[in-house]
Amino acid sequence: MVGKPLPKVDAAAKVTGRAVYADDMLPARTLHCKILRSPHPHARIVSIDTSAARRIPGVLAVITGADLPIKFGILPVTQDERALEHEKVRYVGDPIAAVAATEEEIAAAACDAIDVGYEVLEPVMSIDAALATPKDERIQEYGGPNNVHKFVALEFGDVEGGFERATHVREDVFFYQGNTHLPMEQHSAVATYVDQRVTLWSSTQVVHYVHRALSKVLELPMHRIRVIGAAHGGGFGGKTDPFAHEIIVCKLAMLTGRPVKCTLTREEVFYAHRGRHPVLMWVRTGVDEGARITAMHFRTALDGGAYGSYGVASTFYTGALQTVTYDIPAYRFEGCRVFTNKPPCGPKRGHGTPQPRFGLELHLEKIAHDLGLDPVELKRRNFVQPNTRAVNWLRITSCGLAECTQRVLDASGFHHRERRPGHGMGFAISSYLSGAGTAIYWNDMPHSEVQIKVDRGGATIFCGAMDIGQGSDSVLATIVAEELGLQPSDVRLVTADTDTTPIDLGSYSSRVTFMAGNAALEAARKMRALLVEAVEAAGKRFEDVSFEEASVLGEARFGTLTTAGSYTPPRIAGPYKGSGVGPSPAYSYSACVVDLDADPRTGLVSVNKVWIAHDVGRAINPLLVEGQVEGSVYMGLGEALMEEQVFRKGLHKWPSMLEYKSPTFLDMPEVETFIVETIDREGPYGAKEAGQGPLLPVPPALCAAVYDALGVWIDEIPVTPEKIVEALRRKQKGEDPRYGPPRFPPIPYPPAIVVEPPPKDLDSGRFAHQEGTY
């Protein structure tokens, strides 16, 4: 079963309209919930009068922040959100009050009837403004100076010595604009309150984290709350936080005793956000006469929006993975996240790493041009080797970087192309985690747990993992089917239900195949051992009997047949504060070539084709791997060419699917995908991640191709026609042929924590600290 391009186990439900998404549910007597949101980017709430709303016939409950005062947040260190704010609003769209009514339109009318008094404050709308003294007051009460949320400063190895040793040193500044997930499904949640127990169905990527947040804010023990992941209409990181509407429908169900549903409008989805951080970057690198990197200094500034979300982790991620593709012997990273009066940013596909990858790849391109070297050659000379440890202690095991590179260069004819005006090709590489090595909240428990039940010829898998369309249910079924000698479609699945399934930390950080896959493998091998023992006790060989017969023999011998498996990542984080972000049991690798034509007259870019090779370790289902790779390329092209979440006078500029441009069928080029298998020693059957890494090389490869075509650097994405035309104009005038941020602001980073580089032994670090990772 492993390695075969089988259809997903839920494919038939998805193509017939039978899959039940959260908004498809309408239990009898359901009330509809609408949320009143702030029209101001930054204001103190002086008064809230809900009396008129309560008088409207059909309104059953109105709640405000006073009803849900307890703060929550995805990270233990940033518990800074309330389901409803009653003291202060921090972005246009911040929730203030909620109504449950018999009709959705009545709930909306009741929201309009709520009278809120505001004392409007000066909004902070940019990184520069957030670094300056606030005119009125800071956005959050915690963090660094002014509106700084988080500083990070780390130094590994002899950075000064490295720069002194360099024969060429270069500095560059880049900007990666923020963008949003834009899942096709609007977030939706339905709650009931029956027999003193809350049940929530939601379009979430992580039932467990929602469960924890509900327990805290509703002040109910976890066993009185059940969270079920409904069929999922797309996440990409955007449904990984616990959200206000999820808490609100539970509270309203508790107050009214009736089911309550809330489906966000598309406009509200833009405010829920948690998308890609806008990141300004400065990078300085030294290379020796052999074009080998001697030292690198990387600075980032993240525009975080109004709340913490995953932001502390995002900040670390902007500096973590530079070292797992290139051998950097000395490395200094300084990061800074600021609060601004915008919807909070968080994790989007690649979480915090596409931005520095964009800067890093283009920076190395430019160094190669300085030296008159082929950029591919310069990068290759600096590739990391498998089974090594990076200077920041990240453990690199299987690594298919060289093979991925060769595959896309050969297929695209990168080095043998015929030049023609306006045509360009660009190359870039990347790497991503196969699951974060540390949990969101510190604990010693497994990251994934799987139970298998076998009875009367059937097998059922129980796991908290949430299939968000990537096919995690199919991966679990395939692994168990492989071990037990079944077809994946024969295996029944119960997933993402906190009452009936054991813990899995959910669909984020590309962790499910690796972690839930390993847990499923352990449970399945235990089950197989039981069946083998029972069959052999009956004087037969396991290979000779049907699964049905084996299960009957097993059940007769042992009674109820149930096994469990779990997965805890190895303790490989380095011995320093902040080392918890970056370690992963394995890294995927990608290489990409983008081929395009760019029109110097209009600045329009037309992508002809993308070649991408991805080291997935082992493709458990190559069809699903290709789907993840193609989807990543698509999303990377969208970010590179058009997608941007931008604001004007405190307002989102285009909170609609028409104006927020994303690629259509007509914009998407053909993609040729190569699956590279390196058989990771710790992955299930050797598998690593596929869902996020292949996005990362696309934006820098596209910008490198634009330079190849027109001789101008576009150092910020999205690459719009206006930016290309402006860069060409500068080139014609003899100015720097570049469009991008002119400078990196002075940021008062604290002194760097100096960390000893790791010993060469790959397995050192077992002793390392993991507590207090942020």
């Binding site: 259809p7 997903k8 839920d10 494919a11 038939a12 998805k14 193509v15 017939t16 309209g17 039978r18 039940v20 998404y21 908004d23 498809d24 309408l26 409207i56 016939p57 009709e103 339109e105 009545i106 909306a108 009318a109 309009d112 997930h181 834009l182 899942p183 096709m184 499904e185 609007q186 069929a231 999922h232 209409g233 797309g234 996440g235 990409f236 409008t265 598309r266 968000i468 369309g469 990537q470 096919g471 069809l623 290709e626 789907g627 193609e630 989807g631 990543s632 390329v633 698509y634 999303m635 609609s656 699917m657 028409l658 994303s662 259509t664 069928f665 007509l666 998407m668 053909e670 993609v671």
Partner: protein, 164 residues
């Protein structure tokens, strides 16, 4: 404006043929076909992504042609034939497009799939041998965030080949 909700709502009798069955409903004049299908008929296979006519997710066939159900009002569909995703298979036998989408992984999260399947069906009825660019053109109004569109194009081509 929303205070209008507190006035009496004008309702109309809406007669349509939905997936081969004649149906009669009493619905508010302003209720969209999308809402009537999902809320009054429990045909929740029709999804929505924006309810503003921007994403194509809610596409259904009206007299065989793709239409955005979030923009269609009862008065526009009076007496007409509506096909939703629930009416695409022949009993328990999937339509060749549905089979091809399942086989090739053209549905990931599956949320845009109903609209894309119905639009593709309309295309193949008009043009049984579309080129890849003609498929792109026909589906240009349907957004998908998961697949990068490639497996969808492959699946439509595969189904078209099998249907010939």
């Amino acid at each position: 404006m929303r205070n209008e909700i507190l006035r009496a709502v004008e309702r109309v009798i809406l007669q349509m043929n939905v997936n081969g069955e004649t149906r009669e409903l009493l619905v508010p004049v302003h209720k969209t076909l999308l809402e009537v299908l999902r809320e009054d008929m429990q045909l929740t296979g029709t999804k929505h992504g924006c309810e503003l006519g921007e994403c194509g997710t809610c596409t259904v066939l009206i007299d065989g042609k793709p239409h955005l159900s979030c923009l269609a009002l009862p008065i526009q569909v009076q007496g007409r034939s509506i096909t939703t995703i629930e009416g695409m298979a022949d009993g328990s036998n999937l339509h060749p497009l549905q089979t091809a989408f399942a086989e090739l992984g053209a549905a990931q999260c599956g949320y845009c799939s109903p609209g894309i399947l119905l639009t593709s069906r309309s295309l193949l009825e008009e043009n049984p041998e579309p080129t890849r660019d003609e498929i792109r053109e026909a589906l240009a109004g349907n957004l998908c965030r998961c697949t990068g569109y490639i497996k969808i194009l492959d699946a439509v081509e595969l189904a078209a080949g099998r249907m010939r």
